[in-house]
């Protein structure tokens, strides 16, 4: 187990190096000059040239890459082109916000999604089943922008229960977490349902029922646990999606997360910030993947890592 984790961590290094190299190259291959964007559309050429030199963008690509990697090894992600603050500082503030939102959304999605999926599967073809699955479909397909604004309109402006946006108290977290979690909730509900249905048809379930176990015990102890493996996979994948795909939610609710920072930085061609943000998200993604793989062995003792 321990050696497995070490091996996985070592494997993460080439993955991360690949990610930063790709991002480094992609940023420089797309058209758009950071110096020009920074100087603004009204700027004379001399200003653009001066900024380009200041940013070191007039040096050869290989030199820029070498400097970047060398600084990276020393833990220096560089300085934001726009704010002139260290990238680590920009991310240090944004990352907790993103993790907070993603975790809260995932918690909501797991609780709601599992419950809905179990209810649906155990009462297949009932009104409740149809209602839940239609609900799940809506959750998956509803546009985040519209859903967020409607939630805001009803619960913040009309009812005054929650603040309209921003980060701070637990009450600030509720609406964005539900909005962001809606899709994951739907996915988990559907996955739980189909996986449960499959397990419920197994012989050992019939045996369990035959030997007089309660419905509850059969469903939760025997069926659910065996049905969880594909669900855990979906949870892991969705969590990655929540990290990187929260841009719309963050924008609607003015949540100061990494997603928005990344999109703004791409627009401004703030190379160091984009590189730093992608690196951090790749790191978290890798970590979540590892945790999911480890979680399999808890859910299903037959799976072992040696």
């Amino acid at each position: 187990m321990f050696s497995y984790v070490v091996r996985r961590l070592l494997l993460a290094i080439p993955v991360l190096l690949g990610v930063v190299t790709l991002v480094f190259l992609a940023l420089r291959l797309i058209p758009g000059d950071p110096a020009l964007i920074m100087a603004g559309e009204a700027a004379p050429q001399e200003v653009v040239a001066r900024i380009r030199t200041q940013l070191g963008l007039d040096r050869p690509l290989a030199v820029q890459y070498g400097i970047y990697i060398w600084n990276l090894v020393r833990g220096d992600l560089g300085e934001s082109v726009r704010t002139r603050r260290p990238v680590t500082q920009e991310l240090g503030f944004r990352l907790p916000a993103t993790l907070e939102l993603a975790s809260a959304s995932m918690a909501i999605a797991v609780v709601l999604g599992l419950t809905a999926g179990i209810i649906s599967a155990t009462r297949q073809y009932s009104i409740l089943d149809y209602a839940t699955m239609v609900g799940a479909l809506v959750g998956i397909s509803i546009p985040v922008f519209w859903f967020g604004l409607m939630a805001m309109w009803i619960f913040s402006v009309r009812l005054g229960w929650f603040p309209v946006g921003g980060r701070g108290t637990l009450r600030h977290l509720v609406l964005p977490a539900i909005t962001l979690g809606a899709m994951a909730t739907g996915m988990i509900a559907r996955m739980t349902r189909s996986s449960m249905l499959e397990v419920l048809r197994q012989d050992y379930i019939r045996t369990g029922k035959a030997k007089g176990l309660t419905e509850r015990s059969v469903n939760l102890r025997h069926a659910l646990r065996n049905a969880l493996i594909p669900v855990v996979t979906v949870v892991g994948l969705q969590f990655g999606g929540l990290l990187a795909g929260s841009v719309l939610t963050e924008t609607v609710f003015t949540w100061p997360g990494v997603g928005r920072l990344m999109v703004d930085s791409i627009t401004n061609r703030d190379y160091p910030v984009v590189q730093g943000a992608v690196l951090v998200i790749a790191l978290v993604f890798t970590a979540v993947n590892l945790l999911v793989d480890l979680a399999y062995s808890f859910v299903d003792p037959r799976i072992r890592y040696d």
């Binding site: 920074m38 946006g165 609607v252 003015t254």
Partner: protein, 501 residues
């Protein structure tokens, strides 16, 4: 009182007529579309930065309600006969927020640093060759040649003075002399200013001034309706009725100093022919774009910049006349039209470009729409003339100094061809060049107005642009806010604002 449109120059002060006794204290929260790109005047370029910076730092002058010059850190000035030496007498007893005294040395250091290192340095104060400190509160600014817009350029908020001590110590936020003091800035979250208790003039009523960056228009409106913010920039046109329907909120509509235009490459393809460019001006129904895309909150442009700017002269607008457009095209040798491209960056321009495409189809011009992300778009339109592949493009420009020179020289003088300047249409007319040069080097205002009127007539006729529209600003505000100034140059000024119960 409500829904009054600002008069003449469009400045608007909310609650100015209410006549109640101002109340001290409280926090005023203003939402903006974006965070400032920076608060360092050396790299600042945008309106959010200007909005914040002007409360913290002050320049020699500022532009008042009617676009007239108001004294800030300058008390008076005089200029030599030849317009080459300007003597400024500075306000006494002014201190920066860190206690450093403001004097001629500080002013000189700031202006020369701005000229040499700031993004806006070349645009605003390049004309200054040197500055002499005469005594503690007097300085002489020396120019190589007369530069008529000098004073309005010294009223640009970006030229605001910073404490030399603080800059030398590497303080990374602005330390100025303004009515508010910088407290903290958490990008993406909030920017907080606090009242300056030692302000030299009439100080603010407010204790705190907070700016929030909220990119989504719907969210700004909800926040305003929920009372979480007191004012906001840019209410989406569709949301104006909602904000007006609530008795606690209102929308302030004022004309801007901005022109939105459709530029044409005067050196390439059929568009090199002025008759063709005129035809496009007749073919495009500007009013439809005003109504359909801007919800009516704009005016069809009648000049290359907006009314209220010094030197304004209106030969237009070009009427919508399909037959005339067709006749001009035939005369130019394109009776069956031609194929061309229109590039733009997404936003309202997506819809605008589609309308234009449909309208040009009517006169036989087949337009391919190419949407480009902002960075790529700037890059593309900024290529030098011999490598330019631009045909038609859409951009906007704000005459923030309130002086014709700021727009005409940068956009229509042939020395300003991109990338050196902002003449992205590669428009060249030697008479116009001469008039614009005369306009900036002639001190006499009446003469300047004449030069600009002549230049505008020529530009209008040569039609390097389709002169589209002047958009209105749409601000949202809570009705208990008093004394907040909405300036046509897109700044919100809270110096004397206060909150009623």
């Amino acid at each position: 009182m409500r829904k009054v449109v600002g008069l003449c120059l469009g400045l608007f002060i909310v609650g100015a007529l209410a006549g109640a006794t101002p109340r001290y204290g409280g926090t005023l929260t203003i939402a903006m579309e974006y965070d400032p790109s920076s608060l360092d005047p050396l790299v600042m370029t945008d309106t959010p930065a200007s909005n914040v910076f002007m409360h913290v730092a002050e320049a020699l002058f500022r532009l008042g309600p009617g676009g007239e010059l108001e004294y800030l850190l300058a008390k008076s000035f005089e200029s030599s006969e030849d317009g080459l030496v300007w003597t400024f007498y500075l306000r006494e007893g002014v201190k920066f927020h860190d206690g450093t005294p403001f004097n001629a040395e500080a002013a000189k250091w700031n202006l020369l640093r701005f000229r040499d290192k700031a993004s806006f340095g070349p645009t605003l104060v390049k004309a200054i060759t040197d500055i002499e400190v005469v005594d503690d509160l007097t300085m002489k600014v020396l120019l190589k040649e007369p530069f008529a817009p000098l004073l309005v350029h010294l009223a640009h908020s970006f030229t605001g003075f910073l404490s030399p001590t603080a800059v030398a110590a590497g303080v990374n936020h602005p330390v100025g002399t303004g009515p508010f003091v910088f407290v903290r800035w958490i990008p993406g979250t909030e920017l907080v200013l606090e009242r300056n208790p030692n302000y030299w003039g009439e100080g603010p009523y407010l204790d705190r001034l907070v700016f929030l960056p909220i990119p989504e228009g719907g969210t700004r409106v909800m926040k305003l309706l929920a009372g979480e913010i007191d004012a906001t920039t840019v209410v989406p046109p569709d949301d104006v009725p909602i904000v007006r329907a609530d008795p606690k909120t209102d929308v302030v509509i004022i004309p801007s100093l901005t022109i939105q235009y459709v530029g044409m490459n005067c050196q390439r393809g059929p568009l090199a022919n002025p008759l063709v460019r005129q035809a496009l001006n007749y073919a495009i129904d500007k009013q439809e774009i005003v109504d359909f895309v801007f919800g009516g909150f704009a005016t069809v442009a009648a000049a290359p910049f907006s009314p209220g700017v010094f030197g304004y002269h209106a030969p237009g607008p070009y009427p919508h006349d399909v037959e005339k457009a067709k006749a001009l095209l035939a005369q130019a040798g394109y009776p069956n039209g031609f194929k061309t491209t229109l590039r733009y960056n997404p936003g309202w321009r997506t819809l605008g470009a589609e309308v234009i495409q449909a309208q040009l189809k009517v006169v036989g011009i087949d337009v391919e729409l190419i949407s480009m992300e902002w960075g790529s778009y700037l890059d593309f339109t900024n290529r030098p003339v011999d490598r330019s592949e631009t045909d038609i493009y859409m951009l906007g420009w704000s005459t923030v100094t309130g002086d014709a020179d700021y727009t005409l020289y940068s956009l229509f003088h042939s020395t300003q061809f991109a990338p050196a300047g902002s003449n992205r249409s590669f428009y060249k007319n030697e008479t116009v060049d001469a008039l614009l040069t005369a306009g900036r080097t002639t001190p006499n205002p009446e003469l300047r107005e004449q030069y600009y009127a002549q230049a505008i007539e020529l530009i209008w006729n040569d039609a390097p642009w389709v002169f589209l529209l002047n958009p209105d600003h749409r601000y949202g505000v809570r009705t208990n806010v008093r004394g907040l100034v909405f300036h046509p140059n897109f700044t919100i000024q809270a110096h004397r604002a206060w909150l009623d119960n």
